[in-house]
Symmetry: C2
Subunit: 406 residues, 2 copies
C-alpha cells in the first residue's frame, strides 16, 4: 500500500497493508471531506497537510494567516460526530462510500465558534448564504491532523479524462513549452464572454513574451463538488470546455482542461484568494479574476474579489492576479468587448446567465456570438447522458448523479 | 528669442534676437533635416542633442551603440553640399522654407562610407531599398553638432491638432491617470486588424493592473514624413485614427493620438529599436510590434523585428516590447483572431493591404469587420480635402501637398 500525502512519518511506515488499515478505528466521511482529503493529499491545498487545529482555524478566521505566517483565507475543518470514539493521538481509518480512502493522525480535537467563522469568512451571518449555511451545519467538534490517501482515487467518466494531480499539471505545462500559465476558474458552461475573458487574460499573462511559439497557456480548472439546483451539471462543464478547445476556438496549443475537487464556499474575495493559492500549487503563474468571482447573491460587490488583493503583499502570493472587467457583446464593434476598451456602453448586450439559461431550456440554439454551436451540441448531449435530460442540476440529478470518485 | 534644445551653452546665450540670427552664415535645409531638427530639439530622439559626428556614426553603424554605450540603431547625419562655406567651430543659422528654424554649433565636418552605412543598417546594398537609396543619395560630407530651434514649430491643419512634445505627452498621460502606456506605431489607416492589435496590446501592457479605472493607455503615434506613391496620405492617417476613438471603437479613456516627425527608413529590426527609443522618450512603458514592423519588400522576414530584441539587454531599453502575431478575421469565431489563440487557420481571412486598397479605390465601403464605417467615411472626406480626391498618395499629392510645418 503506497500512502499518498506529505512527509514520511512513523504512521506511514506502520500502515503497510489493507489489513493494517482494517485494524484502525474507522470513520465514514461525507463527500466534502473525501474530496478535501484527496485535494490535501495531492497538494492542491499545499502547504496544508491535513485538517486545521484550533490555532490554525483561529489565525485563518481572524487574520487570514496560518500560525507560521502563510496566507490562508478559508478554514479547512474535519467536523465529526462526538458519538465516534476518537481521541487525540489516535490514528484512524477513513472510508468513503464504504471503501478505504485515507488514514488520519488525530492531533487535536477541538471546538470553535461556528458563527464567528461565518461572520469573518463570509462577512455575513445570513443563513441563506450557502457558505454560512454549510458552516453552521457542521458538527460541533473538529478533528485536526494530517491525512494520507491509502489508494489512488478512481474517477468515473468523464472526470477520469481530465484528472491531473498538481505534479501532472506541471509536467504537462513543461511538455507544452509554457513558461507562464494563466488559470481560469469556472463552474460554468462557456459562453463567448468566458471565452474572451480567457483570451484577453492570455494576452495579459503573456505580456512581453515572444510569440514564435506559445510560451503562455490557459489552464481551465473546473471546481467540481457540491451542486445546487439550477447549476450546470459538472459533466457538461468539463465536456463543453473541452469542446471549446477541440473545435479550435481556443487552440489546444494554449489550452488545458482539468479540475479541482472542492465544494464552493461562495466566499467571494476570500475564496478568490484560495483559488489563487490552489492554482499556484498547480504551477500556474497567473490567475484571472472577472466580475462576481466566487460570489453569490448580493453579498459581495461585483469587483470585491479584485479589491482584496490590495491588502495582500505580492510576496505572499506566488501567482499574479489578472483583473478584467465583465465582457459584453457590442453590436457596433461586432465583437466581445468590455467597457474599458469599447465606448459603446449604451448599445452593449450583456451576457445574462438567466437569459442564456432560458434560451437553452427552450432548446433554442443561441447565436454563435453567444455560445459556440459545438459547445451547445455537446451541452445537449451531456444533458442526455448525465443530466437525466437536463443540462442544469435538478433534484433528480442531486439524488441520482453518478459519483465523481469511484 | 527662446531657443529650444538641450543644455545652456554660451552660443544659446549669444543668439538672443532674430538680428543675431541673421548675422550667422545660413543654410537652407530639406524637409528631412528640418523635421529631424524639430525632433531632436524637443527630445523625441534623446539623448541626441544634435547630428552625429564620425565616432558616433561609426559606433551606431558597427555596434548599434553611441560612444557612451547608449543603444542607438540608426545614424542621424546632416549631409551638406561642400559648396557651403562652413568650417568646424562655426555657429550657423538654419532656415526651412526660407524662414529661420534653428542654429547649429558645428563641431566636426566629416565623411563616412555611405555604402557601409547601407549594408550595416539595412542589411542590403540594393538601391531599390528606400533606406539604401536615401543613404546613397546623401551629399558627400556631414556636419556634426548640437542644434537649437529658434522658434516653436507651427503646424498646418490637421497636424496642429495632434502635435504633442515629449513633455506634453507625459503631462497628458498623467492627466489621464495612466501608469502604463503602450505605443502603437503606424503609417496606416486603421483596419480592424490594427484596432485589435492595439486592443490586445492593451491587455498585455495592463497585465495585472486593476481595472476599476484605466491605468493603461494606448498611444497611437503616427510617423509623419516622406511619402511614397500608394501610401495613405498623412492627413487621412491622423484623422481616421482619431475617428476610431471618437466613434468609440477604442474608448478615449485609453486612447491618445499624436505624431513624430520622422522619415521612415524601412530599416526593419533596427528601425523597430529606434521606434522603441522614441516612444520611451515620450513616456511610454510598452511598445507593440506586430508583423513586418518598419519593413519593406522582402528584405526582412515577417517577425525579424521581434528577433532583434533577443540581442538587447532589458536595461538598455526603458520600454518593454510586446510581440504579437498578425491578426486575421476568423469566420468561425466571428471575430479578429490570431493563430496563437485560434486554431481555425484553414478558414482565416487575412487582411490584405492591396485588397483593402482596391476595395477603397472602387469606392466600395468595406464590411465593418474589415474597416469601421466611420473610419471609411473620414478617409473619403480626407481624400477630398487633402488628397486631391485620392486617399492614397499620388504624384500630384507629392508635388502639391500642403507642408506639415508652417
Amino acid at each position: 500500500m503506497n500512502l499518498i500525502g506529505h512527509g514520511k512519518v512513523e504512521i506511514v511506515e506502520r500502515i503497510k497493508t489493507i489489513s493494517d488499515f482494517k485494524e484502525l478505528h474507522r470513520i465514514e466521511v461525507k463527500r466534502q471531506l473525501a474530496h478535501e482529503i484527496v485535494s490535501i493529499a495531492y497538494g492542491f491545498l499545499s502547504p496544508l497537510k491535513g485538517f486545521m487545529n484550533y490555532e490554525e482555524v483561529d489565525g485563518v478566521v481572524e487574520n487570514m494567516r496560518l500560525p507560521n505566517g502563510v496566507l490562508w483565507p478559508i478554514p479547512l475543518v474535519f467536523d465529526y460526530s462526538q458519538n465516534e470514539k476518537v481521541k487525540e493521538g489516535d490514528t484512524i481509518g477513513i472510508t468513503y462510500l464504504g471503501k478505504p480512502l485515507a488514514i488520519m493522525k488525530v492531533k487535536e480535537i477541538f471546538k470553535y465558534d461556528k458563527l464567528k467563522i461565518a461572520e469573518k469568512v463570509y462577512k455575513t451571518k445570513d443563513i441563506k448564504h450557502p457558505g454560512v449555511k454549510r458552516t453552521l451545519s457542521y458538527a460541533d467538534a473538529f478533528l485536526a491532523g494530517d491525512v494520507w490517501l491509502v489508494r489512488e482515487p478512481q474517477f468515473n467518466k468523464p472526470y477520469s479524462e481530465f484528472w491531473l494531480t498538481p505534479r501532472m499539471h506541471r509536467t504537462v505545462f513543461e511538455k507544452k513549452g509554457w513558461k507562464r500559465v494563466v488559470a481560469f476558474q469556472t463552474r460554468n458552461v462557456p459562453h463567448t464572454g468566458h471565452e474572451y475573458l480567457m483570451k484577453f487574460a492570455w494576452f495579459a499573462a503573456n505580456e512581453n513574451q515572444k510569440v514564435d511559439e506559445p510560451r503562455t497557456g490557459i489552464l481551465v480548472n473546473v471546481v467540481i463538488g457540491e451542486k445546487r439546483v439550477g447549476d450546470y451539471i459538472d459533466e457538461a462543464i468539463l465536456l463543453t470546455h473541452d469542446a471549446l478547445s477541440k473545435y479550435g476556438y481556443i487552440s489546444p496549443k494554449v489550452h488545458l482542461l482539468s479540475f479541482t475537487l472542492w465544494d464552493m464556499r461562495y466566499a467571494g474575495p476570500r475564496e478568490a484568494l484560495l483559488h489563487a493559492i490552489i492554482r499556484s500549487n498547480l504551477g500556474c503563474t497567473h490567475h484571472v479574476f472577472g466580475r462576481d468571482h466566487a460570489g453569490v447573491g448580493n453579498y459581495y460587490s461585483p469587483y470585491e474579489a479584485h479589491e482584496i488583493f490590495d491588502s495582500i503583499n505580492e510576496e505572499d502570493l506566488l501567482i499574479k492576479p489578472i483583473f478584467l472587467r465583465e465582457n459584453y457583446y457590442c453590436p457596433r464593434c461586432g465583437s466581445i468587448e468590455n467597457e474599458i476598451l469599447c465606448d459603446h456602453k449604451d448599445e452593449k448586450q450583456e451576457f445574462s446567465g438567466s437569459l442564456i439559461r432560458s434560451i437553452i431550456l427552450d432548446e433554442v440554439k443561441p447565436t454563435k456570438m453567444v455560445m459556440r454551436p459545438e459547445v451547445y451540441d455537446v451541452l445537449m448531449k451531456a444533458a442526455e447522458q448525465y443530466g437525466f435530460g437536463s443540462p442544469f442540476v435538478t433534484e433528480e440529478y442531486l439524488e441520482k448523479r453518478q459519483s465523481i470518485l469511484g
